[in-house]
């Protein structure tokens, strides 16, 4: 099977192609990024093609780790090192791949079918996958300590954060979204003091209807989290050993450490500079094809039919479809109902947001120990739900009635 695919590769006559048929003369599949998207794809694809060479390029050290666990490792007593499931050397062995670590990609030479690495080295590709993720959005802040504001979006960030934590007691988290709420819960559970600041009227307001957001807020408050909602931080100044966070209503908060969790922006710069179509993310179709031939995008950097969903489940679905596509069997991505679980043990939440622009209303019911909100269309069909506390147990049952996110 893999022989057939290599011959298909040999038929291409782009400038980067080689016409000889020996194993090493066909350019490799190149994956940029060794996060969950890159490694999951590599694993799935290797299962279908054990012959074609694979090159992975990453700006970090290539450790494989479970990123969703960064926001709940503290209370579980896990060190950053313990979150590493395999280092780059072991991943390279497992995947029969070459993994270039600490290597930035300068540019994509689309007509030449080559990737230009930092330092000018050019690498040909048979197919190229961009799994370059998303980066924390930096809130506009004034003050002499803005560069001291941390964000955690990688294991390396997290290791730095954990090191700083050993010397601090009081944190301010900017951004009461999913990640900010998870970190707040993890920190208070492990004994730190946390105040969460943000313009949102209730936590995770982009995903949760008010009743569910308020329930989450109460749960976290009971666990010790303080809130300054409907307020924006305007500056972060040095103050003694720590920092002073100025809010737009005049209040000042003292903090030993400021963590920013205001959101992520897909990393589109590399794709955009190469002339690929980008919108919020790198624009791809159901086959995860970008606007350029044999270039694909997967995970947090990708916008699939208008949907940029920076969660694990969509990434897994994408990797499972893209692997056969790359191996010669074009396979469209299908998104089933994909509830997002918010890892806040003080008040667990599961949410399947209704499709953008869907017409309907939230029906909210309080139950013993929780709240259930269902988003119903005019004809009574279930289009989304948000569950908090004990109601989370209803997730599996409600999921069965939901339409797929992308059929």
């Amino acid at each position: 099977m893999s022989g057939v695919r290599r011959i298909q590769g040999g038929f291409r006559n782009g400038p980067g192609d080689r016409l000889r048929t020996g194993r090493d003369t066909v350019p490799p599949l190149v994956i940029v990024g060794t996060g969950m998207a890159g490694y999951t794809l590599a694993r799935e694809w290797r299962r279908l093609d054990d012959r074609t060479s694979l090159l992975m390029v990453t700006a970090d050290n290539g450790d494989a780790y479970a990123k969703p666990m960064l926001s709940n490792a503290l209370a579980q007593g896990r060190t950053p090192e313990a979150l590493v499931t395999a280092d780059a050397v072991r991943m390279a062995e497992t995947l029969n791949a070459t993994i270039r670590t600490h290597t930035e990609v300068e540019a994509i030479d689309v007509p030449g079918r080559r990737l230009i690495l930092a330092g000018g080295e050019a690498v040909g590709y048979r197919q190229l996958v961009l799994a370059v993720g998303a980066s924390p959005f930096r809130p506009p802040l004034e003050g002499d300590a803005v560069t001291e504001v941390l964000s955690v979006n990688s294991l390396e960030d997290y290791a730095r954060f954990r090191e700083r934590l050993t010397q601090v007691r009081q944190l301010v988290i900017l951004g009461p979204g999913l990640i900010g709420s998870e970190f707040a819960n993890d920190l208070v559970a492990a004994g730190w003091r946390v105040t969460v600041v943000g313009p949102d009227p209730w936590p995770v307001s982009t995903l949760l209807p008010e009743a569910v957001g308020r329930t989450l807020q109460q749960g976290l408050t009971a666990a010790g989290v303080e809130w300054r909602l409907g307020r924006l931080a305007s500056s972060v100044q040095r103050a003694g050993e720590g920092f002073r966070v100025q809010l737009d209503d005049g209040e000042q908060l003292e903090a030993d450490l400021v963590l920013s969790a205001v959101g992520l922006r897909p990393n589109v710069a590399l794709a955009e500079a190469a002339g690929l179509k980008v919108a919020r993310g790198i624009v791809v179709d159901r086959y995860l094809r970008t606007s350029a031939e044999d270039i694909y995008a997967l995970g947090d950097c990708a916008e699939v039919e208008g949907l940029n969903l920076p969660f694990v489940m969509p990434l897994m679905q994408g990797a499972r479809a893209l692997a056969p596509t790359l191996a010669g069997t074009p396979t469209p991505v299908v998104y089933p109902p994909m509830p997002v679980v918010i890892k806040t043990p003080a008040c667990p939440v599961a949410v399947a947001p209704p499709p953008r622009g869907a017409k309907g209303t939230w029906q909210v019911e309080a139950i013993e120990g929780g709240v259930r909100a269902r988003f119903l269309a005019g004809d009574g069909r279930l289009l989304g739900f948000a569950l908090a506390g004990a109601a989370v147990a209803e997730k599996q049952g409600l999921m069965r009635d939901l339409p797929p996110v992308l059929a």
Partner: protein
């Protein structure tokens, strides 16, 4: 009865409780969970992402 944690997302499978909603009765041991089972929270498959033993 043991608990197993998904190394991808942190989901905990509790053998004692099983996942009755998914047709896995309470008391099902991890080794008896079907090979095509996927983590209900992140979609990681049983084969790809070993669950780690949390408590025995």
């Amino acid at each position: 009865m043991a608990k197993w944690q998904c190394t991808v997302c942190g989901f905990i499978y509790d053998e004692e409780k099983g996942l009755p909603d998914e047709g896995i009765p309470a008391g099902t041991r991890w080794e008896d969970v079907p090979e095509d089972w996927k983590c209900p929270e992140c979609g990681a498959s049983k084969a790809d992402f070993e669950m780690v033993l949390v408590t025995a």
